[in-house]
Structures are given as C-alpha cells and as structure tokens.
Amino acid sequence: MLYRETGQYKTSYAADSVIFPIRQDRIGVMIVLAIAFVFMPLMMAFKIPPFRNDYILLAILLPFLILSLAAIGANILIGYCGQISLGSGAFMAIGAYMAYKFGTGISEIGLPPLPIVVSILLGGFSAAFVGILFGLPSLRIKGLYLAVATLAAQFFFDWVFLRVKWFTNYAPSGSVSAPELKFFGYLVSTPIEKYLVALIFVTIFALIAKNLVRGNIGRQWMAIRDMDIAAELMGIRPLVAKLTAFAVSSFIIGVAGALWAFLRLGTWEPLAFDINRSLELLFMVIIGGLGSILGSFLGAAFILILPILLIVVPAEIGLPITTETVSHLQFIIFGAMICFLLIKEPLGFARLWQIGKEKLRMWPFPY
C-alpha cells in the first residue's frame, strides 16, 4: 500500500531513467536529505536534546558520514566489481597524506599550498592512480589471491608513511596536522560546519556512485563480478572494467581518507589507517550488503555506532560494571551480533531493507 508504484506511469525516456524511478523513493531521499541538511543543524544550533553538546555531531555523525563514503568506495570495488580488496586503509592513507602535501604546498617543485577542496580532490586522484597500479595484478589473479596482493598495498603504504619523511613534511614525531580548513575563503571550524562539509561531499559522491553503478560502466563491473569469462565474450574488456573499478573506488576512498584526516582527526599518524581500518571497511561492505549504495551507509552505521552504544548505554543507565568488563563485553556482544546477522541474513542490511520494501508494498493486506 505504502510502497505501491501502481499508477506511476513513465511517459518519457527521461522519466524512465531517473535515479530513483519510484516516487516513494524520491520522497524518502528528499526527506532524509532535508533532515540531514536542515533539521540536524537546526537541532544542533538550538541545542535540542539529544544534541545537548556536540558529541553526537562530532563523534557519531561526522565519522559515520566519512566512513560511509569510504564504504561506498570499497563497495564499488568489492560489491560491484567483485574484486576483494584488503587495501582500503592504504588508499585512505594516500588520500590523507597527499591532500596534506597539496594543502601545505610541495616546495620541491615550487607548488604553493593549494585550496583545501582542490587538495582533497587531488588526494583522491593520487589514491586513484595508486589504485590503478595495484589493480593491475587483478587482470591475472582473482579472489583470495588478489586480496593478498592488495594486502601488500596496505603494508607497503603503512611503511611508506612511517618512513618517508617527505610525506610528513619532516615532522620530528612523524605526526602531521591538517592545514587551515578554508573552503572557498570560509574558515570551517565549528562542529556544524565540519558536519555540513562532510555531508556535502558524501551527498555528491553518493549520487555520483549511484549513477555510475546503474549506467554502462556499472553494468560492466557487475558483469565482470558475476562471470568474467562470459562478460569478456559479450565484449566487455576486463582491463577497462577492472581498472576503472579500482580507480573510482580508490578515488572515493582517498577523498574519504582526506576528510577523515582533515575533519575528524585533525592530527594523525599512519596508525589511523592501518590494516584494522581496511578490515573495518570490508566488514561494513559485507554486513551492509555487497553491491548496494544504501548498504554502505547501513554497514557503516552498524560497525561504527553499535560498539559505541554498547559502551555508552550501560554507563548511562548506571549499571555497576567496570570499564574493563564493559569493553570486553563490547567485543563479545558485537562479535556475536555479527555472526547472528550473517547467519540470519547473509546478504546484509541492504537485503533486509529490500524485504521491508516488498512487505510494505502489500501492507496491510499481505497474502
């Protein structure tokens, strides 16, 4: 009932090829965007609970948005093109460090400090370039072997950013600090501003990604994922398809890495982008749903927010457990929930959402 598309006639090609073909989806997306862009900042500005302080904004929404963006990037490669990658953390690091280098200027080649948006995008392009390089082996090796090759990228770049002092502008501690966050002459410093900047980036890239995956190139990726030999026989060139997937995925992950470093951490070291970050992104994609943009958001929310809730809730309701026990319990419950979820719904949250939509179509008169 709520979700019936009956009566929505498409009378032109343009109407048939919009991003969200069903009216309810369009309205839903509009509402979500309105909440994210208008309602949340207003709540925050007037400090309406639960926004008593900037905790929710800075420690939950901001990392959620940025990690969602990274998960979208990872999903393009893993979920849409079927190339398992364990190097996502490395691409985030490349995005972060190269954006830092461009943002502070590269004196060796006489490059002055570039504007922040340009730096972030160039960080993304650097990651895309490296992504293509590390994507080359994917033309020969597949599956778990490719995962191991991308793992090499992870360890290589961990090493590079620790050892090559050029990347950290020769900071004695090896820890670098984001340049001044001036977006088009406007200095971003308050939590609301940071949130909005991240939101704008995520909205734009999510829309681009959504459009890419339903178009020509996205269909090529999916064909390669489903059966590469069949795809090749149909005239899809694996070289182009696989390398574009690596490039687009690394670009988005690189931008997310730059945002993570600039907006979230402010000061960072290579440990912020270690192997755990790669695994975290992989889990987000798997739990959220392989081959789904919405799934990337749901997966990011689950992996990021649930552990925080598991820590905060016992403390807030005043359960007398020690910090140590709470953090051990967190690991146990979180692990158990992942197992439970994957047994009950191996296709992730995106599938759950789809089931929900199908049910709503019939509701309240299911047969």
Partner: protein, 435 residues
C-alpha cells in the same frame, strides 16, 4: 531475521541511550582516559588503578576538594587514537562545568587532542609524555607535559651514559642505538639525540619497531651487527618485554640497555624473568615502593583497585598524576572559589601550580618526587630523573638525581613550537604579562 526483531532491538538501544541519570550540581567532573584492553593493557591498567584510587581517596577522606566532590568516569581507549578522540568528545561536556582536564596516556591521542582542547578550552596533562615542544606554554596554553618530556628523558639518559663512561668527553666515537616504538611516542626523542650526537661526537643509530612491537628479530640482529655501546629503549606495552628477550637472545648485555621511564616498570621486566637482570631504566622522579599516600589509600579506600600492582612503578605514576591534577584544581579554587570549575579556570590552576617540599610531605609524597613549580614559559615544571636497575626481583635506584640540561633542549623547544605556532596561526602569549 524478521524486521520486527531488528526494529525492537534498535528501539531498545535508542530508548536506553536517551535515558540519562540526573547529575549532582556541586561536583567536579574528572574524566579518566584509560586502556585496560589491547596490547598495552599490561601497562595501562596499573596506571589507571593508581589514578582512580587517588581520586577516590580525595573523595572518601576529604569529601572532595574543599567540599567539591570529584565525579569520576573512565573511558576505554585501547591506546587507539580514534577511540580516544571519541571518548574525548563524549566526556568533554559532562558534569556541571565540563571536563576538568584530560590525561590520555598516549602520545598519539595527545597529538590528536592538542588542537581540540585549545578550541574547547580544556587543559591536557601529559605527565612524562606528549609533545615535548608543548613545554613552551606561550604557544601551547593548554598542554602540560608535567615533570618531564621525552627530550628531557633523552638528555638524562645520555648524562647517565656519560657518567658511566667516565665523562662527557668519552662519548666521542661511541655508538648509541635507539630502539623505538615507531609512532609519535618513539620518534619524539630523536631530535635531542641528534643534537647530542653532534655535540658529543657519538654515532646515533635509530632503529624503529613497528606497532605493537612483538616482532623485533631483525632489529636486534642489526644491533648484533652494529654492536652499539649502549642501547636506549623507547618502548611501551608488550614491546618492552620482547626487546629484553631479544636482547638476551643476541646476547646483548642488559646492563647496557637504558629504557625510558615508560619502559621501566614491573610488567616490562617480569615476563623476561632472569634475562632482564641488570636492565636499567630512567625514573620519572618516583620509583616503586610505598610512601605516605599509600598508607592513606589503604586506610581510606576500602575497595581500592590497586592490589597486586599496589606500589608498583606505574601504579605510583598514576597516583602522582592524579595528585597533580587535584592540586591544580585546588590552586584554581583559591582564585575562583570553592565550586566546580571550568577547564579554562583549571588551566590557570595548572599554570600556577607550586608544590613545595613541605606541601608534598603533607600530601604523603615525600620521597616520591621533588618540588615542582609550573609557569607560563615552563609547562614542564621539573626535569629531574634518576636511573634504576632491575635485579631480577625489584628495582634498585643506582644513580643520583640528574637534571636535563636546558641549553640542550631549549633551542629545540623554541624552534619546533614556533613552527607549530606558524602552522596553526597561533600568536604566542607574552609570558611576562600572563597572570
């Protein structure tokens, strides 16, 4: 899985999160960032116990600071920077006046919080760790690397080596290796050691160890090839024990290894057993043992957390650290009144902290530490240390007090803090006018 279960679970979690208990108004909120899990838990736990026990002592024995009770909350960071930042965001606004100060016990988290605390006006106390250049309070108004920075530590270690060799002149031509945790923490002492290498004419060999430091075969193989005269160890957590074991397996004499004060506690040497005998480490003023304050904790805190680690090096460091924070609040109360204070007011208290020998005796810290006085230009306050040696069962103090030479570290502090100020567009305060 049915949608209903998902919905119910979400609703339950969300509902519980909304529910927040009422807060007392006359309490000073004191957050503790700790780590009792992960590869650094062996060192994080005794420290956190010490901090917690001292705060409880103040509450139970004195009823708080001049009647203002401490409201304590612990947050587990696991030594991870992003978790630490999350804890910080969660805790900074709690209590009637917000968090008093933060004490991350991680150089990585300190680096990440330095900009944020400046904006939120909350002091960050990094006793014996953190950014060494934050000694310069003119630039780093909210950072307090109390009692010693890594640059001071490096200088004290080199002074001790010079003394063992029979004079500074004998350092010429020697080889000194630094085995360090490859993170901001481990890299901090390098500038000082480079300056000293140039000054005294010894060869300095930095040897990094990747986090968490359980794999050090190649590093110690290199030490066997290079045969340095001394090895400085800048490790933490499981890395320390591994280093000592590896030193034993390449037969590097343990009494030629000098650890920083974060590599000189019981959990660092105990796992290595007899192989650790002879190993030396710096002391951040205090060592192990029980002093006046320990008696008070035993008497007044029935449920103290420190049990088998009571009186150990890191437990004591937690106690000293908590005491400095409490005394800073007390100092600030003298000016702003006996009520819950904001981070900005406590910053003033920290900057004007002055603990005389008599006051330390009163607090039960006699014999544990020397007097300390903080000022705008000197957020470190004191830079004294001694050297202790592990005899297989306990730590023995083997040296007299050393004081880090200002002429070695001060140019570096000026130089690197000025760079930071320029990068962050901070105008340094005029310390002669600071109140």
């Amino acid at each position: 899985m049915t949608l209903k279960t998902v919905g119910l679970a979400l609703a339950a979690l969300g509902g519980a999160a909304m529910f927040a208990p009422a807060m007392a108004q006359n309490e000073q909120y004191v957050p503790i960032l700790s780590y009792r899990t992960g590869p650094y838990a062996v060192n994080g736990a005794p420290y956190a116990d010490g901090v917690s026990d001292y705060y409880n002592l103040v509450n139970l024995r004195d009823g708080g600071i001049n009647g203002v009770k401490l409201q304590i909350e612990e947050c587990e960071t696991g030594y991870a920077t992003d978790k630490g930042v999350e804890c910080y965001e969660r805790m900074k606004g709690k209590g009637p006046t917000g968090a008093s100060f933060f004490n991350p016990l991680s150089t990585g988290i300190t680096f990440a919080l330095t900009d944020k605390t400046l904006q939120d006006k909350i002091p960050i106390i990094t006793m014996g760790y953190g950014r060494a250049d934050s000694k310069n309070g003119a630039v780093f108004a909210y950072n307090f690397p109390l009692l010693g920075t890594y640059w001071s530590a490096a200088d004290i270690a080199m002074q001790h080596i010079a003394k063992e060799l029979g004079g500074e002149g004998n350092l010429k031509g020697k080889k000194i290796a630094l085995v360090f945790h490859d993170s901001p923490y481990g890299k901090e002492p390098i500038p000082t050691l480079e300056v000293l290498a140039k000054k005294n004419g010894f060869t300095f060999i930095p040897i990094p160890v990747t986090h968490p430091g359980v794999e050090q075969k190649s590093q110690w193989l290199r030490i066997r090839q290079e045969r340095p005269d001394y090895v400085l160890l800048w490790g933490w957590g499981v890395m320390n024990g591994t280093s000592i074991n590896e030193a034993a397996s390449v037969a590097y004499p343990r009494d030629k290894i000098i650890g920083v004060w974060w590599s000189g506690a019981e959990p660092d040497v105990a796992p290595a057993g007899a192989q650790a005998t002879g190993y030396k480490a710096l002391m951040l003023q205090h060592g192990a043992g029980e002093f006046g304050v320990h008696g008070a904790i035993k008497q007044h805190v029935p449920n103290r957390l420190g049990k088998e680690n009571f009186g150990q090096v890191l437990y004591n460091r937690g106690v000293v650290n908590a005491m400095l924070g409490v005394e800073a609040i007390r100092t600030a109360q003298k000016r702003f009144g006996n009520k819950p204070l904001t981070g900005e007011q406590i910053r003033w208290g920290l900057e004007n902290l002055d603990l005389s020998a008599a006051r330390l005796k009163e607090l039960g810290f006699e014999g544990m530490m020397r007097p300390v006085k903080i000022s705008c230009g000197d957020h470190e306050g004191a830079r004294d240390g001694r050297v202790q040696q592990w005899d297989g069962k306990k730590w023995n103090i083997i040296s007299d007090w050393y004081t880090a030479r200002q002429d070695v570290t001060e140019p570096l502090v000026k130089d690197i803090s000025a760079k930071y100020a320029a990068e962050k567009k901070i105008t340094p305060r005029d310390c002669s006018k600071a109140d």
